[in-house]
């Protein structure tokens, strides 16, 4: 702050004095039912079938994954469906020791952005890695999808349990 200012407003509430001030608690469980739309509906249905599907743009020739009905570069409708493989390479990865609420996980999670084979170079999605040790992990490693058994698949990104090294 400026050297002309000597007082800085704001009163910290320290952990030990937290109960000295009044506070009201409030919980809201906000529910949503998002329409998946033309592109993601088909993508989810194909996941249930054990396949990954993308969209292609005939103008820029890209195979877009996750699929969308528009090409954001050319700004036009994409032209058709295109099955890609369920294998890919690790673009980048990390090892998570914390959960979404910042609590510690018992077992670390391996997460990666996976470039999917068959889609345009560099296109992929986020997923988990399994059947791999910390030492083996590296950028550029080839991995393949480990699918849930057909009966357990519901049309979700979690129909792929994780990707494992191949």
């Amino acid at each position: 702050m400026s050297e002309r200012v000597k007082f800085f407003p704001g009163r910290e509430i320290r952990s030990r004095s937290i109960d000295e001030v009044l506070a009201s608690e409030y919980a809201a469980d906000l529910k949503y039912s998002w329409a998946s739309g033309a592109a993601m509906s088909r993508f989810l249905i194909e996941l249930k079938n054990g396949r990954i599907i993308a969209r292609k743009c005939n103008k820029c020739k890209r195979i877009l994954l996750p699929p969308r009905i528009f090409c954001e570069d050319c700004f036009r409708e994409t032209d058709g469906w295109f099955y890609v493989k369920d294998t890919g390479t690790v673009n980048t990865y990390s090892i998570s020791y914390v959960a979404a609420d910042a609590s510690r996980l018992k077992e670390p999670l391996f997460v990666a952005v996976i470039n999917i084979e068959g889609a345009t170079e560099g296109m992929g999605f986020l997923h988990l890695l399994g059947e791999v040790s910390e030492k083996e992990l590296k950028v550029g490693m080839r991995v393949g999808a480990v699918w849930k058994p057909e009966a357990e698949r519901i049309g979700s990104i979690l129909d792929i349990r994780y990707f494992k090294p191949i």
Partner: protein, 145 residues
């Protein structure tokens, strides 16, 4: 153009965002609620703008002065500014003479229906049931006629 043409090809993704908050009442709110717990209503005052804020503020929204002057608002000096029947209850915005702002609360049903302008007083919960929250005022009820 890619559009879904068969109803069974439509998917929705259902999920929820569970959120929890713990709100502090702020510098002015903390003081106000502590007093409410004692059965008192206080407003903050800006002398230069001739404004009295209820619920109180630590600042004047007009001139932006820091406020440190407080005044008691008699709990029986209220009047109904407006009211609505909702979910089987009557919710009123109660204002007080000489005060900008007011308080929201439940209006106890009387023999006659409520009207805009009727005089009301705040009825507090029993001391041991008060929590330092707006709900320490159990309801407002009509005074005299």
């Amino acid at each position: 153009m890619e559009r879904i043409t068969e109803g069974d090809q439509i998917r929705r993704w259902n999920d929820h965002i569970p959120l929890q908050w713990k709100y502090t009442a702020g510098v002015a709110g903390e003081r106000f609620l502590q007093l409410l717990k004692q059965g008192k209503i206080q407003a903050s005052v800006c002398r230069s703008c001739n404004k009295t804020y209820l619920p109180p503020k630590i600042f004047c929204k007009e001139c932006f002065a820091q406020l440190s002057e407080w005044r008691d608002v008699p709990s029986d000096s209220g009047y109904v500014y407006s009211f609505t029947a909702v979910n089987g209850e009557i919710i009123a915005l109660v204002k007080f003479d000489g005060v900008d702002g007011g308080l929201l609360g439940r209006l106890r049903k009387g023999r006659e229906g409520p009207r805009i302008g009727i005089k009301v007083k705040a009825v507090f919960r029993r001391k041991e049931d008060r929590k330092g929250a707006l709900s320490d005022i159990e309801y407002f009820e009509r005074t005299g006629v």
